[in-house]
């Protein structure tokens, strides 16, 4: 469809107002597809297609249709205007069964007539017939249609009339003194087309049947009815095909419209106005909002809770503390802590984090396929309910002031992907680098110090043991080493043990702090990952609807601008 619009833009050369309006309507209709009333959307699509094909066809021709009830004298007027007796006139009702077309002018109107669906046998080229008068020169470019009736028992006629009334550029409604107040024409055609007043003419035919003094009364009553229909300014002409009254004026009015060559566009512009107006009614005028900005806070908290972030964060804190103690504890006692299970391993987060370190991507969603499920407990019904409430709240905030169809579209989109949401959240948690894979450097340093102190203590013990052994064998004492009067081996032992315990104690405090820091950092990373999942699963679908809304509004503004 947009290819067609591009084509039209090229053809019209300069930027044409109508083409821009059509482009606006086209994009609005595309955006509204599946969201607004399907009938209206289909109508909009049909209009864009129709307008596209009409604009591609001859712009030099103006299609003028004579429409009216059976017996109002459409065919008589047609014959009078063409000057040839081609349309059959008669007293049997309905007389005209198929639309008849007569074209004037230098250019062939064949293609246009085919588009109008007028069969070849009903097409007349006035210029090829004999007896053209100078008056016909003025009508050059006219395609005059004689339509069947809209009110007889022949329903096929009504359908043909409705089809051609949609396609004609100028509509001439032929009424007569008997039928001018019929509901059939006012309710079905004139009132619904009150938006198309500019392209309409009303003719009161058969005025010869009225007494001369009653013509004005009849005309003013007709004017009253037209005003009630919303057609205040439509020109009314009084004619009599039989007597020839008003024919010159009618011919002049038609010639004037044909010469202006703008009525084809005028008609389409009116159509665009009506359809875009109806769409605008359903669309409303609330400003589109940015969903991303609205989705934060409570939604993120609820998702983090559902994804088990607090559980993971707590696990990281205790696991890090435990590992730090293992790395930095006093070597004599720290083996004891090996019997305690690692909380992260229990959640199956340990292996994953190690692997994700080696992977190049740290994006949770990219690596989702490689990641197995964690053993974080499934979100409970309360947590799920909280997430759904939060999503609903985001949708509610985003759709304040929007019309019902659009608000429904956004709300439906908001929950459209919640089915896979908890899996995605879990993958995001599993795929996040928790920053616990690598042990900090100070752990190794402390471990070195611990081992050094352990060796010192060991040396002291061995030394003391050696001294004891010597004493036991009554061997002479080796020369003892003193330091400030205290024996060195004893000092070594005491310094080693106390130093080890001290270092263990100090690093325990440090480990606690670093575990908290790590947990906090991991919490931030997890929340960032969850935010990305939220963006994909909650915000993106809503944003798509919001973008469509913005496109629809933009298109309608372009289509309806003054």
């Amino acid at each position: 469809m947009s290819a067609m619009i591009e084509n039209l833009r090229r053809m019209s050369g300069r930027s044409s107002d109508l083409v821009e309006r059509l482009a606006g309507l086209d994009s609005a209709v595309q955006a509204a597809d599946g969201r607004l009333d399907p009938e209206l959307v289909a109508q909009g699509k049909a209009l864009v297609a129709r307008a596209g094909s009409r604009l591609k066809l001859s712009g030099d021709h103006t299609v003028v249709a004579l429409a009216g009830a059976t017996g109002s004298g459409k065919s008589s007027l047609f014959n009078a205007l063409t000057g040839v007796d081609v349309a059959s006139v008669g007293v049997r009702r309905p007389t005209t069964a198929e639309a008849l077309a007569c074209s004037w002018g230098p250019d062939e109107a064949g293609e246009l007539l085919d588009w109008l669906g007028i069969p070849q046998r009903n097409q007349i080229d006035r210029t090829k017939l004999a007896g053209s008068s100078p008056a016909d020169q003025g009508l050059s470019g006219l395609v005059l249609l004689d339509l069947p009736d809209h009110d007889s028992v022949e329903v096929s006629h009504h359908i043909e009339v409705e089809r051609l009334v949609q396609l004609a550029d100028v509509l001439v409604w032929v009424l007569d003194p008997q039928k001018y107040a019929d509901a059939a024409i006012h309710d079905r055609f004139l009132r619904p087309l009150s938006t198309h007043a500019d392209i309409m003419l009303v003719v009161l035919n058969h005025v010869d049947e009225l007494a001369a003094d009653r013509v004005d009364a009849c005309l003013s009553d007709l004017r009253r009815l037209l005003t009630l229909d919303g057609l205040d300014d439509v020109p009314i002409l009084a004619t009599s095909a039989a007597r020839g009254d008003g024919l010159a004026q009618l011919r002049a009015a038609i010639a004037d419209r044909v010469a202006q060559k703008r009525y084809a566009r005028e008609r389409l512009a009116a159509d665009v106005r009506v359809t875009a107006g109806r769409l605008a009614e359903q669309t409303g005028d609330a400003a589109p909002r940015d969903i991303g900005a609205a989705a934060g806070g409570e939604l993120l908290d609820a998702c983090a809770d559902a994804a088990g972030v607090p559980v993971v964060v707590r696990a990281i804190e205790s696991a890090t503390t435990q590992r730090a103690q293992q790395a930095t504890g006093w070597p004599v006692t720290k083996w004891l802590s090996r019997f305690r299970s690692d909380p992260l391993r229990r959640l199956h987060l340990d292996t994953v984090t190690r692997r994700s370190l080696t992977g190049s991507s740290d994006s949770a969603v990219d690596s989702a396929s490689r990641i197995s499920r964690t053993s974080i407990p499934q979100p409970t019904s309360v947590q799920r309910a909280r997430v759904e409430s939060a999503v609903r709240a985001v949708a509610d905030n985003a759709t304040v002031g929007m019309t019902r169809p659009w608000a429904t579209a956004v709300r439906t989109a908001s929950t459209s992907r919640l089915g896979d949401f908890s899996d995605a959240l879990d993958s995001a948690v599993a795929g996040t680098d928790l920053g616990v894979a690598k042990d900090p450097a100070w752990w190794r340093a402390v471990r070195g110090v611990q081992w050094a102190l352990f060796v010192v203590a060991l040396v002291g013990v061995l030394w003391l043991a050696a001294l004891a052994f010597f004493a036991y064998l009554r061997l002479p004492d080796p020369r003892s080493l003193d330091w400030h009067g205290l024996p060195v081996p004893t000092l070594l032992l005491i310094a080693g043990v106390i130093g080890g315990l001290l270092v263990a104690a100090v690093s325990r405090v440090a480990a606690g702090a670093s575990a908290r820091r790590r947990a906090q950092r991991a919490g931030q990373r997890l929340r960032a990952a969850i935010q990305r999942v939220c963006a994909d699963f909650v915000v993106a679908p809503m944003q798509r609807e919001m973008d469509a809304y913005a496109r629809c509004r933009g298109g309608l503004t372009a289509a309806l601008r003054r």
Partner: protein, 573 residues
């Protein structure tokens, strides 16, 4: 139907049918509703205006209604038949707005508003009012015949069309006027088809015809009449001729019509035959027409039932969802579990087993730090969890109910007309849910207190504190599966076991089970009540339009009675 054979059975059956029809309402949007509403209105009007009064006064003069298109010359024709300008004529359409009934002065008593067309006010002057019937008595018409000039059936004036339909339905004889320009119009033929279907007696007048085209148009119209089942109806032709200063056509132009009417007026049996045919046709048509209304009414009942069921099901599902979530232990995980473990872990519950000092110290410590009591925190966590559950389930129930309603045009119309957006939970639901969860918690504590007032247990209850036991009871309830407490209650059960043990120690095994069941039922009832209130919003919308159950069946019953009465009162077909 002779004058003597006024059938009291038939009349009373018709009166009942009329009352049943008047009572049945078709409030919901459905494909067959608009047509059925119109038919119902027409039926009631025709029974009131024509069938019932006509059956009761079978001797009343024959009423010929002159109807047809605007501009066909009905009023001119009536004036010319009567021979006096009784109805206004003109070129402005529609000319006649208020109907004019012309009758012989001797027949005047037949046309009071108690007898015919009761909802039209009687006047003796011309008015432009569609609610008034102008009565004109003139010697020009023979006794036993009345002519009514009706408004048009096809002008922009909608009230004219409605009134004309009503008047034609009240006619013994239609004088249907059309013109050379009109005779193939769709609208009049719609009326003529209905007349043919109901064997209403019709005479067609082809008015305003140019002398040159009388033959062709006349034969074409006769062909159309035969095709459409009116081959037996008389067809009169009136030439387009200049009117005199009084607006009357020359007498010869309308002479054939006048002659025909006079002969009808003079011949009582011929007149009775016309009346009988039209009346029995009208009565016979009641069956099919009423069944159409009854079918639509039955589908209205179905719509109402389905909408109600949809709303109830959505909320029943929501309630089941809440029940499940409060019983499968999932409520115990997350926040509640953490607070419960804290409560148990800080030892408030267990420490009381060992020493009072510990608890006192804890209390003092917590009070000094400004922290709430752990038991209180569990209560708050339970409250938040339950409230979230209830609100979310109510919200999605409203959504599901609205979605189900929108699949039916009637439901969509009701939702659009409903005050506020009932497709969402009510605005104050969160507050209401919070209050009812609090009430429930209060009731649980009361329960524990009452149970503990027993002498045997008072001391032990005091030892643990009512709050602690209440919390333990809530936790036990949430860990229950289908009312069975025990060890096999899943992941969360493990923690609940502690609470269970403590409760059993205080109250005994059987009492705990009863307590748990009682408070669970209490919770269920409170949530149910809340959901009922929510669901009530849908029901209220539905209850604004009532379709009484069995209305369609009553209608069918009434029409069957009419048919039976008709066959017994009218043995000849």
């Amino acid at each position: 139907m002779s004058t003597a054979a006024v059938a009291p059975d038939l009349v009373s059956a018709l009166v009942r049918l009329r009352a049943t029809l008047a009572d049945c309402d078709l409030p919901f949007e459905a494909a067959d509703a608009p047509a059925a509403r119109i038919e119902r209105g027409n039926l009631v009007k025709q029974l009131d205006d024509y069938i019932i009064p006509r059956l009761q006064q079978i001797d009343a003069p024959l009423l010929a209604v002159v109807g047809g298109s605007t501009g066909a010359g009905k009023s001119t024709l009536v004036n010319s038949i009567v021979g006096a300008p009784v109805s206004a004529t003109g070129v402005l359409r529609p000319t006649t707005r208020s109907p004019v009934l012309v009758h012989n002065p001797a027949d005047a008593h037949w046309f009071g508003s108690d007898r015919l067309l009761p909802d039209l006010e009687r006047t003796d002057r011309a008015t432009g009012d569609q609610g008034a019937l102008q009565l004109v008595g003139t010697d020009q018409l023979p006794p036993g015949l009345a002519v009514l000039d009706a408004p048009d059936i096809d002008s922009v004036e909608q009230r004219n069309r409605r009134l004309a339909t009503q008047l034609l339905a009240a006619a013994d004889l239609w004088l249907f006027v059309t013109s050379a320009a009109r005779y193939a119009d769709q609208v009049p033929w719609g009326f003529l088809r209905a007349a043919a279907e109901r064997s209403t007696q019709v005479a067609v007048v082809l008015d305003r015809t140019a002398p040159g085209s009388v033959r062709e148009v006349g034969s074409d119209l006769a062909r159309m009449m035969t095709e459409r089942g009116l081959g037996d109806s008389p067809l009169f032709t009136v030439l387009e001729s200049p009117v005199d200063e009084a607006g009357l056509l020359p007498a010869p132009a309308v002479a054939p019509i006048r002659r025909w009417l006079d002969s009808l007026a003079a011949d009582e049996s011929a007149r009775g035959e016309v009346v009988r045919k039209t009346l029995s046709g009208a009565v016979a048509s009641l069956g099919a027409r009423t069944r159409l209304v009854a079918t639509a009414l039955a589908s209205q009942e179905q719509i109402a039932a389905r909408l109600r069921a949809d709303a109830l099901r959505a909320y029943a599902d929501g309630l089941a969802g809440v029940d499940e979530a409060t019983q499968d232990g999932s409520l115990l995980r997350g926040e509640v579990l953490a607070r419960w473990q804290e409560f148990v872990g800080t030892g408030e519950l267990l420490r009381t087993l060992e020493d009072r000092v510990g608890r006192l110290r804890d209390r003092l410590f917590n009070a000094a730090r400004g922290r709430p009591q752990p038991a209180q925190e569990v209560t708050v966590a339970v409250e938040t969890g339950l409230e979230t559950l209830i609100v979310e389930h109510a919200e999605s129930a409203a959504e599901r109910a609205a979605l189900a309603w929108r699949t039916l045009p009637a439901g969509a119309a009701l939702l659009n007309a409903a005050p506020g957006d009932i497709g969402r939970a009510s605005r104050d639901l969160r507050a209401v849910a919070e209050r009812s969860v609090r009430d429930w918690q209060g009731a649980v504590l009361d329960l524990v207190r009452t149970e503990g007032s027993d002498r045997r247990t008072t001391a032990r209850v005091l030892a643990y504190g009512v709050n602690g036991l209440g919390v333990a009871l809530m936790v036990v309830i949430f860990a229950q599966t289908a009312g069975v407490t025990g060890a096999e209650v899943g992941v969360a059960g493990g923690t609940a076991v502690v609470g269970q043990k403590v409760l059993e120690a205080v109250f005994g095994d059987q009492a705990v089970r009863e307590l748990a069941e009682q408070s669970q039922r209490d919770l269920h009832l409170r949530v149910e009540q809340l959901f009922q209130q929510e669901c009530q919003r849908f029901q209220d919308v539905l209850d604004q339009h009532t379709v009484s159950a069995g209305a369609a069946e009553q209608l069918l019953e009434a029409v069957r009675n009419v048919e039976t009465a008709r066959w017994t009162s009218e043995p000849s077909p």
